[in-house]
């Protein structure tokens, strides 16, 4: 009983409940939902689809979690994703051997390096110039799509490069490559921030920047690092998205993905006010969002109602997580406990 109460008070409780409810709805609508089959040595099934399609959002959400923990926000991730896809595709298209591994390696490397520059730019605006993060990254959010458009010269660049396509739709040891990449990014971020003191510094700066400065934390360098890492995550996600369709579309690659990523972070229990963050929470949040999309298809909700459905679910999760609701619920639990305690005493 107390174990359950402890679980219920955890920040992860409601997101996990939400995820399980969504799973249950899917199972009712589609009994084979949990089935995973092996075909040609590759895993297939609804859950695998959710993981694969959710990978780009999760990758960006990991970077976003760290940014949000510092009291910031990065609206430019969608644009950065578009730029990195555009850069990679234009390099592959411009090379004489688009199918060669070396070409793809160069394309990916250049795309990631450019994202580092973009991340440093965001970091510069926020950390060095002190511009509010929402404004600072809004600049790149709007300008970035334009830059991507210039790179693609207004065209949708379609590439025919098997090694590049492998990123988006390939399998490695039976597991989708995108899922492996997401797992690596997630694992590295968790390891680096929690095994070193980085995580504590990020939280400390997010909670009380001035106290952290006076304690000797290098807040400025930290912000640079966090925004750069977030842009790098966005670029990786952009490459996966672009490789999946084998086409770079400056207008639509990663469109609104910043909102999904922020949502995943918030659903995962990390406060937009900064401070304590939970990467596991973000993972659950990203899964909730992707499962939601899948649910829309399995349940057969008409496409026009999709956004409304998504909005309804998100509203419920946010309501459940709000401090006011939490207080009301804990009061309810206390009363319940008192009543049951009395019952025991009486009997």
């Amino acid at each position: 009983m107390s174990a359950l109460a402890k679980m219920a008070s955890s920040r992860l409780f409601w997101p996990v409940v939400m995820l399980l409810v969504l799973f249950a709805i899917n199972l009712v609508a589609f009994p084979g939902f949990f089935e995973i089959t092996v075909r040609d040595g590759q895993l297939f099934g609804s859950l695998i689809d959710i993981l694969r399609n959710g990978a780009p959002t999760l990758i960006i959400a990991v970077g976003m979690t760290l940014v949000i923990a510092t009291r910031g926000i990065d609206l430019s991730v969608g644009a950065v994703a578009a730029i990195s896809g555009a850069v990679a595709c234009s390099i592959i298209l411009g090379s004489p051997a688009p199918g060669s591994l070396a070409t793809v390696a160069v394309a990916i490397t250049v795309a990631l390096l450019i994202s580092l520059v973009l991340g440093v730019w965001n970091g510069f605006l926020v950390a060095a110039l002190g511009i509010q993060p929402i404004i600072a990254t809004l600049i790149l959010m709007t300008a970035g799509r334009g830059v991507a458009m210039l790179i693609t010269e207004g065209q949708i660049l379609t590439v025919n490069s098997p090694p590049f396509k492998f990123l988006g739709s390939g399998f490695w040891f039976g597991i989708p490559v995108a899922v492996i990449i997401a797992a690596v990014v997630f694992g590295l971020a968790a390891l680096v921030t929690r095994r070193t003191a980085l995580g504590m510094f990020i939280e400390s700066v997010g909670i009380n920047p001035e106290a952290s400065r006076q304690a000797g934390v290098r807040a400025r360098g930290l912000l640079f690092a966090v925004y750069t890492f977030c842009a790098l995550c966005a670029a990786i996600a952009g490459l996966i998205l672009t490789a999946n369709t084998a086409a770079a579309d400056a207008n639509n690659t990663g469109l609104f993905i910043e909102l999904d990523a922020i949502l995943a972070v918030v659903i995962g229990g990390t406060s937009l006010a900064g401070g304590r963050y939970s990467l596991v929470g973000t993972l659950v949040g990203a899964l909730v969002i992707q499962t939601l999309v899948t649910t829309v298809y399995t349940v057969g909700i008409p496409p026009i109602a999709t956004m409304v459905f998504k909005a309804a679910v998100v509203t419920i999760v946010c309501l459940l997580q709000s401090p006011t609701t939490a207080e009301a619920l804990s009061g309810f639990r206390r009363r319940l406990a008192v009543r049951s305690g009395k019952g025991v005493a009486a009997s």
Partner: protein, 587 residues
């Protein structure tokens, strides 16, 4: 009437005590104003966990300038907010011009004739002077704004203040002082009976202050009651007729300015607190003898920062506790912040063991083993959402760098050992710091700084707002640390505490070091005299012979720097005669 130290001072004090008795019940301005315009009785206001005001009486007469005095947290701003309707009162009555009132908000108070001009000018620099004066109550004509009437009315108001500026000019084009006067013009437009000026002079220079005072005097002649809040004693004594002193949310008394000596005022503001720690005092004084030839750890020479602290000298020896005494705004915190690397000095030099250093950030200070513990525990100290353990290891970890994490086991050992040594409660390293009491939060901060093994520990008001038990523990700790060779710079508004712990006391006044004294026979009263007047009472023989010279000097000097004092004094002197000649010319 409390004056526990009266017998330690000589004949001067007995003279002082008499007129300082509360003037309550005998209206000083009785000849001109028989009834008070504002009368607040038994005002109490509580916030969760604190009683901000407890049964405070306060009154103001028409045509007088009244000052509200008290240190930080005394309840000055709470009382003003009660009068202006910002806060509701829990108990008590407010009477305005003979009628019981109860304001639901600042707008109602203003409509009733109570206007406030806040420290920061809350006006719109991108609008014209006239628009600013009339904002929200523009004269209307045919549903639109009557611009002509607006300009005329504001011109009248400005003329009433003898302020010769074009009402059509942009407010932002004028100096801060003029903007302040425009704010006053705006405030008196609503037929103010009471005008509240909250720290109006904090950003004005001497000429601008004179201009403001001229306006205040002319308003006073028109019968307006003016509440003038300032921490500059000189200004209070120049402009005010009467003052009310608050301390810790309670009324100390109401006095005529002419009849209250500064020394008594300061003492009433700071108050007394007797603790059972007298043994420390004797031990502290005993230690003075053997540290005379100790090496200087850190030495500041003409260290200063514009607008914060005039260039000051401050040597601190190894194992020495130096106390900084002075009122709020005297520069005591500002000087300490320069030493801690929190703010950058723009003049002067800092040397550690004779080696020149520049501190550009707290980080650099920490790497030199200088720790600064801020007086602002909540905003600059604790990281509330982190655990006790994280808060304790934060500075040490920051110094090591993020890539060399302190092993979990070591963190636990550190946290546990400080929790035990400092008696932090609850003794759970995983508790969130924001859930701890103020005293325990302060101990967590001390633990954070002790964990970096500082050689100089700067403690700015470490005992403020914490209970007496924790206070005693912290004082003991400071003493023991110094005995073990750590230098300590100790700041406290409580002079007893400063005297109890310090080997040397540096006194600041109006952003200047006015004295640097060995704590050898120093008394609270001699310190009060320095804080109040910047000079030592001539018949006070408790001080050694070099102090009067040093005390008068504008630039404070340590024992070895006495020779540099006269030039500094001379440099700061000229403005006064010049100012008086120009005034003479005018009149």
């Amino acid at each position: 009437m409390e004056h526990p130290l009266a017998d330690s001072m000589e004949s001067t004090v007995t003279q002082q005590t008499e007129p300082a008795a509360p003037a309550q019940g005998s209206p000083p301005a009785a000849a001109t104003a028989p009834a008070p315009v504002v009368e607040m009785r038994g005002i109490s206001i509580g916030f969760p966990g604190v009683k901000a005001l407890d049964g405070v009486d306060f009154r103001m007469f028409p045509g007088e300038v009244h000052s509200l005095m008290g240190e930080n947290g005394a309840g000055k701003s709470t009382l003003i907010k009660a009068l202006t309707g910002v806060y509701g009162i829990d108990a008590g009555t407010i009477t305005l011009a003979g009628e019981r009132v109860s304001f639901a908000g600042p707008a109602q108070a203003q409509a009733a004739g109570i206007s406030t001009v806040y420290q920061e000018v809350n006006l719109l620099p991108n609008l014209s002077v006239a628009e600013n004066i009339m904002l929200g109550r523009e004269p209307r004509r045919f549903g639109g704004i009557d611009w002509r009437a607006m300009r005329r009315r504001s011109a009248e108001l400005l003329a009433g203040l003898h302020l010769d500026i074009d009402p059509g000019s942009l407010l932002g084009d004028h100096s801060l002082a003029v903007q302040q006067l425009v704010a006053i013009a705006r405030a008196i437009d609503v037929n103010a009976k009471v005008l509240i000026l909250d720290e109006p002079t904090s950003s004005l220079d001497a000429d601008e202050v004179a201009e403001l005072f001229r306006v205040i005097r002319s308003l006073k002649d028109q019968g307006v009651a003016i509440l003038f809040v300032s921490h500059f004693l000189d200004q209070v004594y120049e402009i005010c007729d009467r003052l009310t002193v608050l301390r810790n949310g309670t009324l100390v008394g109401e006095y005529l300015v002419d009849e209250l000596l500064r020394i008594d005022l300061v003492q009433k503001m700071i108050g007394k607190e007797l603790t059972a720690l007298d043994d420390l005092e004797h031990r502290a004084h005993a230690a003075v003898v053997d540290e005379t030839d100790a090496a200087t750890f850190v030495s500041a020479t003409k260290l200063g920062r514009r607008g914060a602290i005039e260039p000051a000298d401050l040597p601190i020896a190894v194992g020495e506790v130096v106390g900084l005494a002075g009122l709020l705004g005297s520069g005591r915190t500002e000087l300490a912040r320069l030493l801690g690397g929190i703010d950058r000095a723009d003049t002067g030099e800092l040397a550690i063991h004779g080696e020149h250093v520049r501190l550009r950030s707290p980080r650099q200070a920490i790497s030199k083993r200088i720790a600064f513990s801020s007086e602002n525990r909540r905003d600059e100290g604790i990281v509330g959402e982190l655990t006790v353990r994280d808060n304790i290891v934060l500075a040490l970890q920051a110094d090591r760098g993020w890539f060399r994490p302190i092993p979990k086991k070591k963190q636990d050992e550190l946290a546990q050992s400080y929790i035990q040594a400092l008696n932090i409660r609850p003794g759970n390293p995983d508790a969130l710091v924001r859930n701890l009491s103020g005293g325990n939060q302060q101990k967590v901060l001390l633990a954070r700084w002790l964990a970096i093994a500082p050689r100089l520990l700067i403690l700015d008001e470490p005992t403020r707002g914490i209970d007496i038990g924790a206070k005693a523990e912290i004082q003991k700790l400071v003493f023991n640390l110094a005995e073990n060779g750590m230098s300590v710079l100790f700041i406290s508004a409580e002079l007893e505490e400063v005297l109890r712990l310090s080997h040397r006391v540096v006194v600041l006044r109006d952003r200047t070091v006015v004295a640097d004294l060995e704590n050898d026979g120093l008394t609270v009263d001699s310190l009060l005299a320095l804080i109040a007047d910047g000079r030592v009472a001539s018949d006070d023989e408790a001080l050694d012979e070099r102090t009067p010279a040093v005390a008068v000097a504008a630039v404070g000097a340590g024992a070895g720097h006495a020779a540099s004092a006269p030039p500094g004094h001379a440099a700061s002197a000229p403005p006064t005669p010049t100012a008086s000649t120009t005034e003479g010319d005018r009149s």
